[in-house]
Structures are given as structure tokens and as C-alpha cells.
Symmetry: C2
Subunit: 197 residues, 2 copies
């Protein structure tokens, strides 16, 4: 592929992803069709299907294009509680933007009926975040700043309450809520954990 | 309505809900249609639509019929940690039965594209469980057996990790995992909570 056609391809992809995001913001995710995305982006439906086998997979790419570093990075200032608050509040900011909230809810909802998409979400989003946080969590545990639990349990306990409110209870996702969750996890005393493990 | 027709109605509803559950077990939730449910239950499609406006709402009734007390009751033996383990392991049992797991995943997935169904799930399942647990949680807090956090935060932290693994990470839902989550929540020390609240 020549540099020119690569550039053209990149521009087309960008146009299509933008069209998909705009449509999702204007309508509900569920009502957007591949036809509508193609029409908005002024490309043929075959072009869409050449790159994305389904609407869910296309929107996973929208998520990956939109949900940038600014939302999901666990910083390292040396203060793990503050860093976890920053990280978890990043998810809150993500869920507070109506377009991105609709996007996340739509893709995760579709993934429940599409095992392939569910695996892609896990591999493209969940796994890389876990891998990136691993050494920071381990260091904080070694320094006695986090309880000696399985790191996966710690991270589940930090982020799953946000997803629960987003996907099931629809209770408010406030900064106070995020901070209470972080404080609880940081405040787990190891004897309580050892008692039953 | 005469008692006889009431009985007949109850039997028809039961037959339809059973047909829907069987189909969901045989195929994926996503591929079951209202037509297929009507055919399996030997009723007309109008009968189905008279009682349920959509597949999601019909399956919410299947959940309510199947997910009985045996799964979701927080017992009261006086030992809150043991009672919470029993309660959370009940969700685990629910998610371990392939038919009921597919049902829960299917209904919650559909709810992400159907705000009315999402509200029904919340009102029919989430809210009653919270209301029923309220006094037990408050009593355990008053006795110093649970941290002095918002009860809603405590319950979110207990059950959301299970939903997260079910809906997003697909990491194993083992009894050890459930117990680790309960131990962590029970082991939250109040100073850690007060620090940021």
C-alpha cells in the first residue's frame, strides 16, 4: 500500500468512526444501523463491512479511538490513594460524557449477545489496563499501602461498582461515591482478609 | 374472571415462561424470537404480546420465576461475615447454572438498549433486594461488625465484582473469589474510610 492510499484509508476510517459516534449521540446506540453509518460517512456499506464484521466491532473501535489515555491511566505520584482516586475519577469522567456513556453502555450491552465482541472488549480494553497497572499495584502492596489481596480482586473492587451503577442500578456516579470506594479498598485491613482466605 | 379462567391463564403463562427458558438454554438468548416462544408454547403470538410488550420483558418474568429465594436471601444467623458469604455464594450458584447465567446475561444485555426494561430490572430485582437487606446491614453496622460506610456502597462492593466478572472480564467466579470479596468488605477499617469522606 502506498503512503497516499494509507493516508486515504486512515482518513476514511476516521470519518466512519466519527460518523458512528455522532449517530450514537443523536439517536440511541441500539437504533443506529450500519446503513446509517455508511450514509453519514458517504461510503458504501461494503467498505464498512470490509473493515468491521458488525456494528459492535465498529463501535469497539470508536471506543478505542475516543477513550484515550486521559481517562484510564493510573498515575504514579507515590501516593497510591490519591492515584487510585484520579484513576477511578477518570472512569467517572468517561461515564459523565453522554456520548461516551452511551457508547460504553451500548458496546457492553451488545457484547452480552455476541461472545466474539465480548472477548474483543476484554482483550482490547480490560486486559491492557490490568497489565499496565500490575507493577504499580504490586509496588504499593510491597510498601504496605494496599492490602495483601490478589491484585485482580483489588482492581475488581475498585472499578466494578462504577460499572454496576452504570449497567444495573443506575444510582448516581458522584465523585464522593468514587472516593468512598477507593477509601474502602485502601482501608481493607489484612487480618480481615486473612480470616477467610 | 372466573377461577377456572384464572387457573387456565396461570397455566398458560407458566407454559410460555418454561418454553422461553428452554429455548434460551438450547440456543443463545439473542437468537430466541417471540415467534419461536409462541410456537414452542403452542400459543398465538398475540397471546404473548398481550402479556409482554417485548422479549426482554418476557424474560424478566422468567428471571423472576426462576431466581427464587434460594439464591438471593441474606440470612440472619448473627454472624454477618458468614451470612454475607452465604448471600454472595447464592449469586455464584445462580451464575453457575448455565441456563440461569444465560438468562441473567441476556436480560441485562438487552436492558442496555431498552431503558424501560432497565428500569423494570432495577425495580423488580435490585430495589427489593436492597430494601430487604437494609435493616440487617444497619444492625451489623450498629454492632460494629461492618464498616460505617453508606449501606449502598457496602452492597455495591459486595455484589458488583460478581457482575463485573459475568458481564465484562469473564474471569472465573469461584467460591474463593466470593469469599475474598466478602472478607475485604468486612475488613474495611473505618479510619481508611474517614480519611477521604
Amino acid at each position: 500500500m502506498t503512503p497516499t492510499s494509507t493516508g486515504r484509508t486512515a482518513r476514511s476510517r476516521e470519518t466512519i468512526l466519527r460518523a458512528a459516534l455522532d449517530l450514537c449521540a443523536e439517536q440511541s446506540y441500539g437504533s443506529v444501523t450500519m446503513e446509517a453509518i455508511a450514509a453519514r460517512a458517504r461510503v458504501g456499506k461494503p467498505t464498512l463491512y470490509r473493515w468491521w464484521p458488525s456494528k459492535g466491532v465498529l463501535y469497539l473501535d470508536v471506543v478505542l479511538a475516543e477513550v484515550s489515555e486521559r481517562f484510564l491511566v493510573l498515575p504514579d505520584t507515590g501516593d497510591i490513594a490519591a492515584d487510585l482516586r484520579t484513576w477511578i475519577r477518570g472512569f467517572l469522567d468517561l461515564f459523565a460524557e453522554p456520548r461516551l456513556r452511551a457508547l460504553c453502555v451500548g458496546v457492553v450491552g451488545t457484547a452480552q449477545h455476541d461472545p466474539e465482541l465480548k472477548a474483543m472488549v476484554r482483550k482490547a480494553i480490560h486486559d491492557p489496563i490490568r497489565a499496565r497497572n500490575q507493577s504499580r499495584i504490586a509496588a504499593a502492596q510491597a510498601a504496605g499501602q494496599l492490602p495483601a489481596m490478589e491484585p485482580d480482586v483489588i482492581e475488581d473492587m475498585l472499578i466494578s461498582p462504577l460499572w454496576y451503577r452504570l449497567l444495573i442500578s443506575e444510582a448516581p456516579l458522584t465523585p464522593e461515591y468514587a472516593d468512598a470506594v477507593v477509601a474502602a479498598v485502601v482501608g481493607v485491613s489484612d487480618p480481615g482478609v486473612r480470616e477467610t482466605s
